[in-house]
C-alpha cells in the first residue's frame, strides 16, 4: 500500500466518484420538491406518492416481479444442470451454447427471439415470450456460478458416496446438491436481478401487450421526464442492492460470475 503513489490514489478516488455521483444525483432528486431535475428546492416525498398512485407503473412492477420469479426459477434449474454437465461430463458443445448468449451483444439475442417467436412459433408477444427470453440469457450466469463452485470441490467426496453404494440420484441429492446449494441460490438471485433489470431483450420480446419496470422507465425518459422516474429508480436500486448483497453473501464466486 505504501508504494502506491498519491496521484494513483487520487485517480482511483476520482473514478470511484465517477461511479457513484450520478446515482447519488438520481436518489437526491427523487426527494426534491421541484418538477425539474435542475436545482435543489426542498425535501418532499411527493414523487413517491405519485409513483404509488401510478397504476401503469404498479402493473409494470407486478409484471417485472412475475417474470423475474418464473424465469429465474426455470433458469436456476436448467443452469444448475448445465453447470453440472459442464463439470462432470464435459460435452464439447455445451460451453458454447451456454456462454455465447451471454457474450453476444444483447440486441442480437433480442431480434433473433423476436423473429423466432413471431415467424416460427406464431406466438403473440407477451409474458410468455419475455419469460422464455429471460430464461435463455440467465442460464449461462447460473451455470458459470455453479461450475465455479464444483471446480473448487474435492472429487473424492463423490467417489466416496459411490463407493458407499449411493446411486447417481442419491449422490446428487445427499452429497452434490447440499454442497452446491450456496452457488445455486446465488445463481437464482443473479438470474432474478438480471431479469428484473433487463431492458434490451425485453424491449424486443414484450410486444405492445406487456410492460415491465425498465420498459416503463424507458418510455418515461424518452417522452417526459418527471422526478417520478427518480423515485422508481431509487426503489429499484434499493431492491438490486439487497439482491446483490444477498447473492455475494451466499457465494464468493458470484463476483467472478457476475463479471
Amino acid at each position: 500500500m505504501a508504494r502506491l503513489p498519491i496521484w494513483l490514489r487520487l485517480a482511483a478516488g476520482a473514478t470511484f466518484a465517477f461511479l457513484y455521483v450520478p446515482l447519488a444525483v438520481v436518489v437526491a432528486y427523487s426527494f426534491n420538491d421541484s418538477r425539474l431535475n435542475a436545482e435543489w428546492v426542498g425535501f418532499t416525498l411527493d414523487w413517491y406518492r405519485v409513483l404509488f398512485a401510478d397504476q401503469e407503473m404498479l402493473l409494470a412492477a407486478r409484471n417485472s416481479l412475475f417474470i423475474a420469479l418464473v424465469s429465474s426459477l426455470a433458469a436456476t434449474g436448467l443452469g444448475t444442470l448445465a453447470g453440472l454437465a459442464m463439470h462432470r461430463y464435459r460435452p464439447p458443445w455445451l460451453p458454447l451454447l451456454v456462454i455465447t448468449p451471454v457474450a453476444m451483444p444483447e440486441i442480437l439475442l433480442g431480434v433473433s427471439l423476436l423473429v423466432f417467436f413471431i415467424q416460427v412459433l406464431h406466438l403473440t408477444l407477451g409474458l410468455l415470450s419475455v419469460v422464455l427470453a429471460h430464461i435463455t440469457f440467465s442460464i449461462g450466469f447460473v451455470a458459470i456460478i455453479v461450475r465455479a463452485r464444483l471446480a473448487g470441490m474435492d472429487e473424492s467426496i463423490f467417489e466416496a458416496a459411490r463407493d458407499l453404494g449411493a446411486n447417481p440420484w442419491q449422490t446428487f441429492r445427499l452429497v452434490t446438491f447440499p454442497l452446491i446449494l450456496p452457488a445455486v441460490v446465488a445463481g437464482f438471485l443473479m438470474a432474478f436481478t438480471l431479469s428484473i433489470d433487463d431492458f434490451v431483450i425485453t424491449f424486443f420480446t414484450a410486444g405492445v401487450g406487456v410492460s415491465t419496470l425498465p420498459l416503463q422507465i424507458y418510455s418515461m425518459i424518452k417522452i417526459a421526464v418527471t422526478p417520478e422516474v427518480n423515485a422508481v429508480s431509487t426503489l429499484l436500486m434499493l431492491l438490486t442492492l439487497v439482491l446483490v448483497a444477498a447473492a455475494s453473501r451466499m457465494d464468493r464466486s458470484f463476483m467472478k460470475g457476475g463479471a
Binding site: 502506491l4 503513489p5 494513483l8 490514489r9 485517480a11 482511483a12 473514478t15 470511484f16 465517477f18 461511479l19 457513484y20 450520478p22 446515482l23 444525483v25 438520481v26 431535475n37 435542475a38 436545482e39 434449474g77 436448467l78 443452469g79 444442470l81 454437465a85 461430463y89 460435452p91 458443445w93 455445451l94 451454447l97 455465447t100 453476444m104 451483444p105 440486441i107 442480437l108 439475442l109 431480434v111 433473433s112 427471439l113 423473429v115 423466432f116 413471431i118 415467424q119 430464461i135 442460464i139 451455470a143 459411490r162 447417481p168 446428487f172 436481478t193 431492458f199 434490451v200 424486443f204 422507465i217 425518459i221 424518452k222 422516474v229 429508480s233 429499484l236 438490486t240 463476483m255 463479471a259
Partner: protein, 296 residues
C-alpha cells in the same frame, strides 16, 4: 453402479439445458441467418419461402446484402460504431487501471469490499445509470451552464452537452467501466510483488517498472476487459437512443429501426449478421491476442 444408470444420469443432466438452448438460442440464430436471405413480407415480417402463387415475392435472395453494400452509409454507421467502441474501451482502460491496481495492492481484508464497491453501481438498472447522465448533462444542470458560461466568456456559441457524441461516450464508459476493472483486478492481484522489487534492485525507475514488468504481465486482463467493453458497446442502441442526437446513430440503432420502425426484417437480419461476424472476428482476435499475451 450400472452402465445404464450412468448413461441415464448423464442424459438427465445434459439434455434439458442443451435442448432448451438449442430451441431458444441456436434455432433463432439460424432463423436470422435464413431471414437475411429472404424478402420482406407485405405487412412486415418475412415473405414466404414457397411460392404463394399470386406472383408476390418469395424464396431466397442476395438482395439484402447487395443493398447493404450499395450505400456506403451503412458501412459508415458500422465504422462509427467501431470508433465509439474503440474510444470507450480506451477511456475505460485508462480509468480502470488505477482502480484495479489500487484494489490489487490493498490489504487482503479490504479487497472484497472494494470489489463490491465496483460491482454495486453496475448492479443498479442499466437505464437508471444512463438516465442519471441525462440529468447531469441536461441544459438546466450546473455543468452545462458552467461550460456555456465559459464558452460565452470567450465569445463562443453555447453547446449542448446532452444529445451529443460526447454524451454517448460518457454513457458508454459509465455503463461498461466495471467490465474493465474486474478482469484487470483479477489479473493484477496475481502479480508477484517480488518482480517489482527485483526490477527496482536492477535500477528500473517507476515508469520502467510499470512499462516493462506490470503492463506486459497484465495484457491478458487488458484483453479480456477490452473484449467485455468493446463487444457490448458495438451492439448498443439504448445509450445513443437516450443520450445521443439524431446523427449519433450506431449499428444497434439501425438494427432496432429495421425491426421495430421501418419493419424491414430481412435487412435487419442482414445487419445482425454483419454485426455477428464483426463480434466473432473480434472474439477470435481477443482469444488469439490473449494467448500471445500469456506466452509472451
Amino acid at each position: 453402479m450400472s452402465r445404464t444408470e450412468d448413461r441415464l444420469s448423464r442424459w438427465a443432466v445434459t439434455a434439458p439445458p442443451t435442448l432448451f438452448l438449442l430451441a431458444f438460442f441456436l434455432v433463432p440464430a439460424l432463423i436470422v441467418v435464413l431471414a437475411s436471405f429472404q424478402y420482406p413480407g407485405e405487412f412486415g415480417g418475412l415473405a414466404p419461402l414457397a411460392d404463394p402463387g399470386d406472383g408476390s415475392e418469395h424464396g431466397l435472395t442476395l438482395e439484402n446484402y447487395r443493398f447493404y453494400f450499395s450505400d456506403f452509409l451503412f458501412t459508415e454507421i458500422l465504422l462509427r460504431s467501431f470508433l465509439v467502441a474503440a474510444a470507450s474501451t480506451l477511456i475505460c482502460l485508462v480509468l480502470a487501471y488505477p482502480v484495479a491496481w489500487l484494489i490489487a495492492r490493498s490489504p487482503k481484508q479490504h479487497r472484497d469490499l472494494l470489489v463490491l464497491l465496483v460491482i454495486l453501481p453496475f448492479a443498479s438498472n442499466f437505464l437508471i445509470r444512463v438516465y442519471a447522465w441525462m440529468i447531469i448533462l441536461g441544459p438546466q444542470a450546473g455543468l452545462a451552464q458552467a461550460v456555456n458560461g465559459l464558452l460565452g466568456a470567450f465569445g463562443l456559441a453555447p453547446v449542448s452537452l446532452l444529445f451529443s457524441p460526447f454524451a454517448v461516450l460518457v454513457g458508454m464508459v459509465y455503463v461498461h467501466l466495471p467490465f474493465m476493472i474486474l478482469p484487470l483486478y483479477t489479473n493484477l492481484e496475481k502479480h508477484d510483488p517480488v518482480l517489482l522489487d527485483a526490477a527496482q534492485d536492477l535500477g528500473a525507475n517507476a515508469w520502467q517498472r510499470f512499462w516493462r514488468v506490470t503492463w506486459p504481465l497484465s495484457l491478458p486482463g487488458v484483453f479480456s476487459g477490452s473484449a467485455l467493453v468493446f463487444i457490448p458497446v458495438l451492439g448498443m442502441f439504448a445509450i445513443p437512443d437516450i443520450l445521443g442526437g439524431t446523427r449519433d446513430m450506431l449499428i444497434g440503432n439501425l438494427i432496432k429501426d429495421q425491426f421495430l420502425g421501418v419493419r424491414d426484417w430481412p435487412f435487419g437480419a442482414t445487419l445482425s449478421i454483419v454485426l455477428t461476424l464483426c463480434v466473432l472476428g473480434l472474439a477470435g482476435l481477443a482469444a488469439w491476442a490473449g494467448k500471445g499475451g500469456r506466452h509472451g
